[in-house]
Symmetry: C2
Subunit: 165 residues, 2 copies
């Protein structure tokens, strides 16, 4: 089997990110999932949000995935790697993606309130002082990715209402 | 001694950040240092860049310091804490500072090529979709902070010249 044969569709990789988001959901974390894929099509890291579990505001799914990927390949440069993440990254994560030199980011749902790729900012643009630009494509399995988030926030609202009644 | 008596000057805290930068310098890391101070004036974390040592692009001084501070106080919210860092933070770190809800950032040298606080972007501004704005003050012990960086990059240039000769 050649390297090329191992590659899956973009939808396949995003489905793997969705699986991670669901793990986050079960762990009562904000359900965002992420996978990083190397040039041969191999998934080198899978992660979900660990902010609450580990009491650390930095541990968004993308950050945990970058950390794992670097450990896996023994290099801080992820030049030939692509990221699949269920939600448009925030400023911190978009900046981390630039620092890690990831090639392209595919994200599911747009984040109109704080998305830093195209909704509220355009962090991947080299004009912000980076010497590495990151390609991106939003809206991959958008409905599925967005559905998990809606369900999560709906449950939080119900819980909050119950606790105030 | 009251809580207030424990507080030091801004210069004192920045000196502690400079000490961390020098540790980074000795470790052959890009020499950036950082400390986080709680509301009583106590330094709750000290850190320098660990990117090369730990092969991880995320481990800038600010990120390592936030991680340590959260572990120390057992909370992901650093609301009443201030950060002292020798260089203007990049996009990733500025985003992380917002996520950690740090109150105010004092930085030493401005970073005209990639500083995301005021030089190349204004990430602390709530207009970028955050619901938390961070105050900042740049140029504290600027010369001293900038000198360490200059020395570091000068040595890299000399090393590079030697290796090409």
């Amino acid at each position: 089997m050649t390297e090329n044969n191992k590659k899956h569709t973009h939808e396949y990789y995003m489905k793997q990110a969705v699986k991670q988001a669901l793990k986050g959901y079960e762990a009562k974390e904000c359900p965002i999932g992420c996978v990083i894929v190397d040039n041969s099509g191999r998934i080198i890291s899978r992660a979900y949000n660990k902010k609450l579990t580990r009491n650390n505001p930095i541990l968004h799914a993308e950050i945990v995935a970058i950390d794992k990927a670097c450990k896996k390949i023994g290099d801080w440069r992820l030049n030939d790697c692509d990221m699949y993440v269920t939600l448009e990254p925030c400023t911190m994560c978009a900046g981390a993606i630039v620092q890690a030199r990831i090639r392209k980011v595919y994200f599911g749902a747009y984040e109109p309130k704080s998305g830093a790729v195209c909704s509220c900012n355009d962090i991947f643009n080299v004009e912000h002082g980076h010497n590495h630009s990151v390609e991106f494509e939003g809206g991959l399995l958008e409905e599925e990715c967005s559905e998990i988030m809606k369900r999560f926030f709906k449950e939080i609202r119900i819980r909050d209402q119950r606790s105030t009644n």
